[in-house]
């Protein structure tokens, strides 16, 4: 999976979940930077990513994410493709 492909697929998901058509996904973004990103929308985000990439996160993985970069690394690893 090419990184740009990962970014564009995640961007589609983020825009849908946070209902914001101008949102751009980049590694440095954290929950504080995105309006409406709380523990509940976090669930929507995780479920949408699990569905899109057909992967499954553990509770620890979900709770431990610090920023979008870590999320991207996790998705790449779980989806079985390195950058």
């Amino acid at each position: 999976m090419a990184n740009s492909d990962l970014t564009s697929r995640l961007t589609v998901i983020f825009r849908r979940v946070f209902d914001n058509e101008t949102l751009n996904v980049s590694r440095g973004i954290t929950a504080d930077d995105v309006e409406g990103w709380d523990s509940l929308t976090h669930i929507n985000l995780i479920v949408a990513i699990e569905r899109e990439f057909k992967i499954h996160f553990t509770t620890r993985e979900i709770a431990g994410l610090q920023n979008v970069g870590e999320l991207m690394d996790l998705v790449s690893r779980k989806a079985g493709v390195s950058d």
Partner: protein, 601 residues
């Protein structure tokens, strides 16, 4: 207006629904005030509920209580819950929260169940004491952990056994309280699969009580119960015959050639007919609409020994070569019900699409290709939700059939008056009483057309009026020589002695008994009562709805003068009692002494 049609028969995807719920336009829809109280997080459920209620024709006004504050909200008369003045209070208890309490508890399983039951009942009763709202209580989804394996069921007080015990108690206690309906969330979860229902990650992280993909099913269950409580019920099923009610084509294969035997190749159809018969006994009308020669189509009902449905089970039988939508229109006119309370079942996708296209409000579910799955498909759609059962329900199908007999009698009388006189109609008029409250509330929810103000009082509110000395809540039941129509009309009036006025706030009647002289009989009676009590005026209001245009000029017919019209189209009317001229009627009133009694008079 979108009816419940679409929300009932389309599949429900979580993210689509959640998105649809965000931008929904709710203007023009009647409001419904719903309070949501839970020991789990419910924020994800909210947009789904909004969207499903919108599809059902209601703008949802929602009160979300703070997380896990059910008792705090309910026991405090000054809480946000009561300030909100809900129509419906949804109580959503989660198995996960119960699990925490169970494993911390020091009591035995049975004591624990008693305590949970007592707390729940005190919540219901506190709500009942503070508001007339309907309560929709979820039961618990049966847990997936079985500490003893299958032996859990044999071991009294095990976690699994205790949840089952609590669910049983919820059902029993709810039966004793008309204002409490059960949201059988365990049935929803079991259908979908408890293995995937519980997503423990999201409970741990955010107290979400089930996997998000199943939240729409939870929201839909709550919506269905609420809409049923608002009178959105399926009242009539219109059935195709060939390959729907039986296998094969009766016109080609003959009565002997169709498949309907309880064993062998007809078993699926036999099962389907048995399910339909159970619905008919519950009060849902069955009609036939088939492209067939009438004589051939009716023969299986009369002659085939293994048919479950007989001719008498069918309220209206239409078999001809005309367009089915046209035939359904005629059936609707005869029954005087709304399209949105009719479901059409046909194995042929062309006929289904054509009816959907012409009559979009009729509920037309997809039927599976395999007739073996017909009942299962209908069960999954849960089209026949109801919130009460009364004697009138089970007699309804027979009453309607008697009505059609009555109409054929009518055609043999040259003079309609002569016919009405021959019916020997007797109208019992009485004040609301406890034993009739369930039927009274049901009629209040269901009457749309002959309904002057369309106030949807629930059973609790009816009970309050019954006990209110300042209120005259009346019901009327009609009998004639063909049978008993049951309770068919409701009038609520309030004497305003200071203004010398009797104010009629509600007047509604079942359309089954239109044009019989029932309303004339009732108005004559009311005017006489006012005259006897020296009340000088009677006033009344008409509030237009989507369906009640037929009573727009109701008061004018009785000689009331229009005194006011609001910009919304509501009209206010007034009659000087001394000016009233009695209208002719062949209905004989049988009035109990207390019927009109109110302490205020």
């Amino acid at each position: 207006m979108l009816s419940l049609t679409k929300s009932m028969v389309t599949s429900l995807d979580y993210s689509e629904l959640a998105l649809a719920g965000r931008g929904a336009n709710l203007q023009c829809l009647p409001k419904l005030r719903l309070a949501l109280l839970s020991d789990a997080a419910t924020q994800l459920l909210v947009p789904l509920l909004r969207e499903l209620f919108r599809r059902g024709g209601f703008a949802l006004e929602l009160y979300e209580a703070p997380f896990a504050s059910i008792e705090l909200e309910v026991l405090n008369p000054g809480s946000g819950l009561y300030q909100f003045q809900p129509d419906i209070v949804v109580l959503l208890n989660s198995t996960q929260a119960l699990r925490v309490a169970y494993f911390q508890a020091r009591q035995t399983g049975s004591d624990f169940a008693s305590e949970v039951e007592a707390r729940m009942v005190s919540v219901w009763d506190a709500i009942h004491g503070n508001t007339a709202a309907l309560v929709i209580q979820a039961n618990y989804v049966m847990p997936y952990e079985r500490v003893f394996g299958n032996y859990d069921l044999k071991h009294a007080g095990s976690w699994y056994d205790t949840v089952g015990e609590i669910n049983r108690r919820i059902a029993l206690k709810a039966r004793e309280r008309a204002h409490v309906l059960v949201n059988d969330i365990d049935a929803v979860a079991s259908w979908l699969g408890r293995r995937v229902w519980f997503d423990e990650r999201f409970w741990d992280l955010a107290k979400s009580f089930c996997a998000t993909e199943f939240l729409p099913a939870v929201a839909q269950n709550i919506t269905r119960i609420s809409l049923a409580a608002r009178g959105r019920n399926v009242k009539c099923i219109v059935l195709d015959l060939d390959n729907t009610l039986w296998g094969g084509v009766v016109g080609d294969d003959g009565v002997e050639g169709i498949q309907i035997s309880a064993h062998g190749d007809g078993e699926a159809f036999h099962r389907f007919q048995s399910f339909l018969l159970a619905l008919k006994k519950r009060g849902i009308l069955l009609c036939v609409c088939s492209k067939n020669e009438h004589a051939a189509a009716i023969r299986p009902f009369e002659e085939h020994p293994e048919m479950v449905l007989r001719k008498d089970d069918i309220t209206i039988f239409v078999a001809n070569w005309e367009n089915k939508a046209e035939n359904i229109k005629r059936i609707r006119e005869s029954l005087e019900i709304g399209y949105d309370s009719m479901a059409f079942l046909d194995d042929n996708p062309f006929e289904r699409d054509s009816v959907r296209g012409i009559l979009p409000d009729v509920i037309v579910p997809e039927l599976p290709e395999d007739p073996a799955d017909y009942v299962k498909a209908l069960a999954e759609l849960n089209l026949f939700e109801t919130t009460s059962v009364s004697k009138e329900d089970s007699a309804r199908a027979d009453l309607y059939r008697a009505e059609f007999e009555r109409r054929s009698v009518a055609s043999s009388f040259s003079n309609f008056d002569e016919y009405l006189a021959s019916l020997d109609m007797r109208l019992d008029v009485a004040r609301f009483e406890s034993s009739r409250l369930s039927r009274i509330a049901q009629l209040l929810q269901r009457s749309n057309q002959f309904n002057l103000t369309t106030h949807r009082y629930n059973e609790g509110e009816c009970e309050a009026m019954m006990r209110d000395g300042q209120c005259i809540p009346l019901y009327a039941s009609l009998r004639d020589r063909f049978g008993d129509h049951g309770l068919i009309s409701i009038i609520v009036a309030r004497p305003r002695t200071a203004q010398n006025v009797l104010e009629i706030t509600d007047w509604l009647m079942s359309c089954r008994v239109l044009a019989r002289g029932v309303e004339e009989c009732l108005m004559n009676h009311i005017v006489r009562q006012c005259a006897a009590r020296d009340l000088e005026f009677i006033s009344g209001t008409y509030i237009p709805s989507a369906k009640n245009a037929m009573v727009k000029d109701f008061f004018a017919k009785f000689g009331f003068e229009r005194v006011e019209e609001t910009t919304e189209g509501s009209t206010h009317w007034r009659l000087r009692v001394a000016d009233y001229r009695e209208l002719k009627t062949y209905v004989h009133p049988q009035v109990t002494d207390q019927a009109f009694a109110a302490e205020a008079l």
